[in-house]
Symmetry: C2
Subunit: 154 residues, 2 copies
């Protein structure tokens, strides 16, 4: 039963380099394969994430969107402004609570969904990963993220 105490410092640092690099590289590689398909939709990867969530919920406060995507207003505000500029979403202050801003897809934004259906098919085809592998990958990453998030709270 090997623990970190059994390992020499240099080996630990090497492993850290490997893991850090792997996570970092995987994230950018993921971003990379989506870039081309999404360019046709005039979306960036984070904008695609936002649209995916909006297609599922139709209408969301910025606050709630940020909670779902774990992004704060510093990231979302300009991103949403750009999505509004290309005409995919509209924003309006909530009538009930003037602090809150509600985001919803425009007609163009809703029509975009049909085109977006091609994106995961292209990714799936390109990666050669099966559905089961996608599910398993997702679960592992989520487990990791939960561990990291809870670690960060100390």
């Amino acid at each position: 039963m090997a623990t970190t105490r059994d390992v020499r410092d240099e080996d630990l640092l090497r492993l850290d380099r490997q893991v850090c690099f792997s996570v970092h590289a995987a994230s950018r590689a993921f971003n990379g394969v989506y870039r081309e398909p999404l360019k046709e939709l005039r979306l960036t990867y984070p904008q695609y994430l936002v649209m995916l969530v909006l297609w599922e919920h139709d209408e969301l406060a910025v606050k709630r969107l940020g909670a779902l995507l774990r992004l704060d207003s510093g990231t979302l505000s300009p991103l949403l402004k750009r999505l509004e500029a290309v005409g995919y979403v509209e924003r309006r202050r909530s009538a009930e609570d003037e602090r809150s801003v509600v985001v919803r897809p425009t007609e163009a934004g809703r029509e975009l969904r049909a085109q977006a259906l091609e994106v995961p098919r292209r990714i799936a085809a390109a990666t050669g990963l099966t559905l089961d592998e996608f599910h398993e990958l997702r679960e592992r990453l989520d487990t990791l993220t939960r561990a990291l998030d809870s670690a960060g709270e100390r």
Copy 2:
């Protein structure tokens, strides 16, 4: 044996949202837990990656560093300039090839390594992941990255 053809469009789009989000979130969570420990070293996460590689190789051309980390000069040039500004690395034009710039840790940069040894220990302790789990995670991510990279070349 389920393939993507057996799945309805909306389910596929939902899964894509989940996987995209998971990868994105894991990367940022990883970044997040390293942020505090690295702040004490006056390093960002990508700067830490660069220093880890430099500690292993001692002296590297920018080109080679970029190949190892899969980063281009547009990312590395300003990052290395900042590392030079805090005194951790020095850059000089290669004598043999004036196009090339060689980067190496300064004395302060080499001394930083001793402090950096604490970082992976803290991460390991905080996440509760075992060495085996780290290794397995790394292998899965690398497999994924290879699949994504080869997919992007088409």
